[in-house]
């Protein structure tokens, strides 16, 4: 479904990603973890073309992102993305946030867009807040709306870039609950996260990155369970986080 083939990316002379390769199958939940600056956020942003790559290729559902004629807007409408800073549109109400993409990109009618929007709001437990503005919601609520907004586009996969890193600890749970539900419904998900409990419970695979390289790419049980066979850097990382 998503193939990452030997991807390298430079910011000027600085190499952010080096020869990253992996494959994400339909229905898989993949967690990308690693220390700060390892390139995890950059890698996930290359998957929907928000960041361009210097060399290599990324193929999403048969569409190559490096092909000159790729319609990026169309591609992005099929992949949902949730940002660390939520990025709801503050000048629009919650329901308007959900209908904007549907009406302008998918060309759905206002009626249908609102119906679907309310449906997804109910799914994330926020139907009562449809006419509020993002500034009136808590961080956890905003992020759940952001997830609903991505879902209204009926994506084939969802990308999460540290969705809970900017939240108060009390609100992390409500967002993770939504993500767990999504995973149970069979959504293909790629999450950059520090929430190892979530990773352990929900993900099928873990990708560990360090300094722009993929160091580990194995099953969740293998990553957390079979620690001795993991690389030294990964063992170091696990030792640090699992002591908490």
């Amino acid at each position: 479904m998503i193939e990452v083939k030997d991807v390298t990316k430079h910011y000027g002379s600085f190499q952010v990603l080096s020869n990253c390769s992996t494959v994400i199958e339909r229905g898989e939940v993949v967690v990308i973890c690693g220390p700060s600056g390892s390139g995890k956020s950059t890698l996930i942003k290359t998957l929907n073309g928000l960041e361009r790559i210097t060399s290599g290729d990324i193929v999403v559902e048969g569409v190559s992102l490096t092909h000159k004629k790729t319609d990026f807007a169309k591609l992005r409408s099929r992949i949902g993305m949730v940002f660390q800073s939520f990025e709801l549109f503050p000048h629009l109400s919650v329901i308007e946030n959900l209908t904007l993409g549907q009406m302008r990109v998918l060309k759905r009618s206002k009626q249908e867009s609102i119906e679907r929007g309310v449906g997804y709001l109910q799914k994330v437990g926020l139907a009562a807040h449809r006419d509020k503005y993002p500034g009136q919601l808590s961080g956890g609520q905003q992020q759940r709306v952001a997830i609903a907004r991505a879902l209204t586009m009926d994506p084939v996969a969802m990308l999460f870039d540290e969705p809970t890193s900017a939240l108060d600890p009390e609100m992390v749970g409500e967002v993770l609950d939504v993500m767990v539900k999504l995973a149970d419904d069979g959504m293909t998900m790629v999450c950059v996260t520090h929430e190892m409990g979530f990773a352990r419970k929900v993900s099928d695979r873990v990708i560990f990155m360090d300094q722009g390289r993929i160091i580990e790419d194995c099953t969740t049980e293998g990553f957390f369970g079979d620690v001795q066979n993991r690389s030294p850097r990964a063992q170091e990382f696990l030792a640090q986080i699992l002591t908490h």
Binding site: S85, G101, R104, V105, L106, A150
Partner: protein
């Protein structure tokens, strides 16, 4: 002070002054509308267009911000008929002071409006553009539905400030013998020998209009502070 104020001439002159005010208002309204529209286009070119075109837009902006407005007005008044006659091949084509004044004001003000709009667009969080793109909108759609609405809210005080400046700049059209409000007031004053009174009266009128504009700006800035 030995000067005796004689305000009697002002009321009878009001119809003539009103005509001058009409000219001023046309210049301001058209200058603002076309100036902001052209400024918007220039700002978008400067931010999003490929480098050569962006540089052209930047050159335009720097040029018109460097020229004294009085010079620009003169140029348009003398140049436009020449250029249009060459293009249309009609040697008797005349443009008239009003049209040259409008063109001059629009070209000059659009440069300033461009910078205000550019700052406004850049003041919107970059994540908003990314979020818009992430749901499949093109750059233009993001601008139209996500970035510009927010940018406009941010830049409205600055736009109004610039427009207050435009109102005062319109008085420069006297150099091409166009009768705006100040010009009309000056003429009446000269004719009646009441120049001081008429100029004081015009000052009061400009003060009222500009104060209203400034009050609007302050009100909007307060409202914005309560927003997101």
């Amino acid at each position: 002070m030995n000067y005796e104020f004689d305000w009697g001439g002002i009321v009878p002159a009001l119809p003539y002054l009103a005509q001058g005010m009409q000219t001023t208002l046309i210049l301001v309204v058209v200058g603002m509308t076309l100036g902001i529209s052209l400024g918007c286009v220039l700002a978008i070119l400067r931010i999003f267009a490929p480098k050569p075109i962006a540089k052209l837009a930047a050159g335009y902006v720097n040029f018109f911000r460097s020229m004294p407005l009085i010079l620009t007005i003169f140029w348009m008044f003398f140049l436009m008929p020449i250029v249009l006659r060459a293009i249309t091949g009609n040697p008797y084509l005349s443009v008239g002071a009003m049209y040259s004044a409008i063109v001059a004001l629009v070209l000059a003000e659009s440069a300033y409006y461009c910078e205000i709009i550019r700052a406004g667009i850049n003041s919107v969080r970059s994540g908003q553009m990314a979020a818009g793109k992430a749901i499949g909108m093109t750059t233009l759609q993001c601008l139209r539905w996500v970035v510009l609405p927010q940018a406009l809210k941010n830049m409205t005080p600055a736009l109004i400030n610039q427009s207050i400046g435009l109102l005062k700049d319109t008085s420069l059209v006297y150099v091409i013998s166009l009768n705006d409000f100040l010009g009309a007031a000056g003429q009446m004053g000269l004719r009646n020998g009441q120049l001081v009174e008429f100029y004081l009266f015009s000052a009061a009128v400009y003060l009222v209009i500009c104060s209203a504009g400034v009050a609007l700006v302050n009100h909007l800035q307060k409202k914005n502070k309560q927003a997101f």
